[in-house]
């Protein structure tokens, strides 16, 4: 039951954190979603060989996590889960760009390794911010905010249903897998078998989607989701969003890390 326990745990903790109480939780979901989108956009806009200039951006996810009561280990575990995909993307850089570019701690570093570090850092910042957003807002809050900000309903609905049924479908896939394992006696899955298992999962997901749709029609669904209770935008939300926007703009325009280094006597970046 490892699979089931792990999936359940993932959703459970994310959910529990989202139901918590903190100044960050009390912010309007729209403020947090927009700030996070700006954050991701700004971090992504840096050129591929910048590393040190990205450092000040860690302030955003770190301060929200601290104020919102999201444990660092919780974020780290999510980062590790996504890490393999990012490594695949970044791994080629050190081989492609061998020209020396910088000197870090007395070591000469090639442009490829600088790009590698930059990609990893940007990944940690953006994914970290997304995890903190969901952990302090809840998937429900995020989809509602996106809806109200004018994101296409087809997209927000897809996101909400994914969150609702990922666990159900994951468990179904696990049950199919377990049924196979119990009679496989250690023999590995052949490609043909895998295709058949995967199609089983697909067909069952399809079938469930049809039943859910019938259940929705049975309760008067006509293609539009009814308006839910309104969100309340307050002064603190404006201050929050304006403050972070200014910070992102400043950190993008000036190298704050270098500036801080100049301000503190004796420290040179």
């Amino acid at each position: 039951m490892g699979f089931r326990a792990a999936t359940f745990h993932h959703f459970a903790t994310l959910d529990e954190l989202a139901r918590g109480e903190s100044p960050v939780h009390r912010l309007d979901p729209r403020a947090k979603v927009v700030a996070t989108l700006l954050f991701v956009g700004t971090v992504a806009s840096f050129s591929r060989h910048q590393v040190a200039a990205l450092a000040p951006f860690a302030l955003f996810p770190a301060s929200l996590a601290a104020l919102g009561g999201v444990p660092a280990t919780f974020i780290l575990r999510r980062l590790v889960a996504v890490l393999p995909f990012v490594l695949c993307l970044a791994a080629l850089n050190p081989f492609l760009e061998r020209a020396p570019m910088a000197v870090w701690g007395g070591l000469e570093v090639s442009a490829g390794w600088v790009a590698f570090a930059s990609i990893l850092l940007r990944f940690a910042l953006t994914v970290g911010a997304a995890v903190v957003l969901v952990a302090t807002t809840g998937m429900d809050g995020v989809t509602r905010a996106l809806e109200r900000l004018g994101a296409p309903a087809a997209f927000t609905r897809q996101l909400a249903f994914l969150h609702r049924y990922a666990f159900v479908l994951g468990e179904e896939a696990f049950r199919i897998h377990r049924a196979r394992t119990l009679r496989a006696f250690g023999r590995r899955t052949s490609p043909a078998e895998f295709a058949s298992l995967a199609s089983q999962v697909l067909v069952r997901a399809w079938d469930r989607a049809r039943r859910v749709h019938v259940a929705m029609l049975s309760r008067g669904f006509d293609g539009r989701f009814p308006e839910r209770q309104s969100l309340a935008w307050r002064g603190t939300d404006t201050v929050f969003l304006a403050g972070w926007t200014l910070f992102f703009a400043a950190a993008r325009a000036f190298d704050l890390a270098a500036a801080a280094g100049h301000l503190i006597p004796g420290v040179r970046p």
Partner: protein, 260 residues
């Protein structure tokens, strides 16, 4: 006295692959009745249920709910009148929280938010599920899910409640709780189930479906005493009507009725 809540006449249906699932059914439910629909696997129960809210439309014959003959033009009125509780509550609970889910139907009706709130709280209260309001569906136990699914339908104040296997997958206490809740509802109820002991407790009248035909429609007790009928339709007597395995005493009257 108003007419029947549900009227099925000459209903026949065959699936596109040629399987003749229903072969001419006739029956009616009067207001307030609690009727059981029993039959072996493949007897046509699910196909019949799908006709009751227009998920399937009859090939022959007709189905009328609360005075509306089911047809594409009447679907929204019919779906307002029929509260369908599905076998798998995961299919029925698709919103982020139980509250949102129960509110889904009333909001689709365009009710004002105060009325929606009153309906949601009323429905949750009816199934003893008020403490579940803020929970997401995947954090509920099977019994809680079942009651929440029931509330989503009750909030629409349906004229007819249709329940598909309401006790499957419940532990004995959860099953008992649900039977008590269902017994107390004022709605006209049609319960499709293999749980024949539940039938004996809740439904004075039973419909027996076999190979797409209605084999019997009558008082539950006399149907479960008809050994020949039960054998033909691949059904068994409720446990409470069977001989006691410990003292070997024969009986064909349930406990409750023997002491009347």
């Amino acid at each position: 006295m108003s007419g029947p809540i549900l009227e099925v006449s000459g209903l026949a249906y065959a699936y596109p692959d040629g399987t003749r699932a229903l072969r001419g059914l006739d029956f009616a439910l009067v207001p307030g009745e609690c009727v059981a629909l029993v039959g072996a696997n493949g007897a046509g129960k699910s196909t019949l249920l799908q006709h009751l809210n227009g998920t399937l439309l009859p090939l022959e014959g007709r189905v009328a709910v609360d005075g509306h003959i089911i047809a594409p033009a009447t679907l929204s009125a019919v779906r307002r009148a029929v509260g369908m509780v599905f076998q798998d509550p995961d299919d029925q609970l698709f919103m982020p929280t139980v509250y949102e889910d129960v509110a889904f139907g009333p909001r689709n009706l365009g009710l004002p938010e105060t009325e929606v709130d009153a309906r949601v709280m009323g429905a949750l209260d009816q199934v003893d599920a008020l403490p579940l309001a803020a929970k997401p569906p995947y954090r509920l136990s099977a019994g809680e899910k079942r009651r929440a699914a029931l509330a989503t339908v009750l909030a629409l104040e349906p004229a007819l409640l249709v329940l598909d296997e309401p006790t499957s997958g419940l532990d004995p206490r959860g099953r008992r709780h649900l039977i008590e809740l269902l017994g107390a509802f004022p709605h006209t109820r049609l319960i499709a189930t293999h749980d024949v002991d539940l039938v004996l407790e809740l439904c004075p009248r039973t419909l027996v479906l076999h190979e797409g035909q209605l084999m019997a429609d009558g008082p539950t007790l006399s149907i479960f005493r008809d050994e020949a009928l039960l054998a033909t339709c691949r059904l068994e007597k409720p446990l409470s009507m069977q001989g006691c395995p410990v003292c070997a005493a024969k009986r064909d009257t349930p406990w409750s009725a023997r002491h009347l």
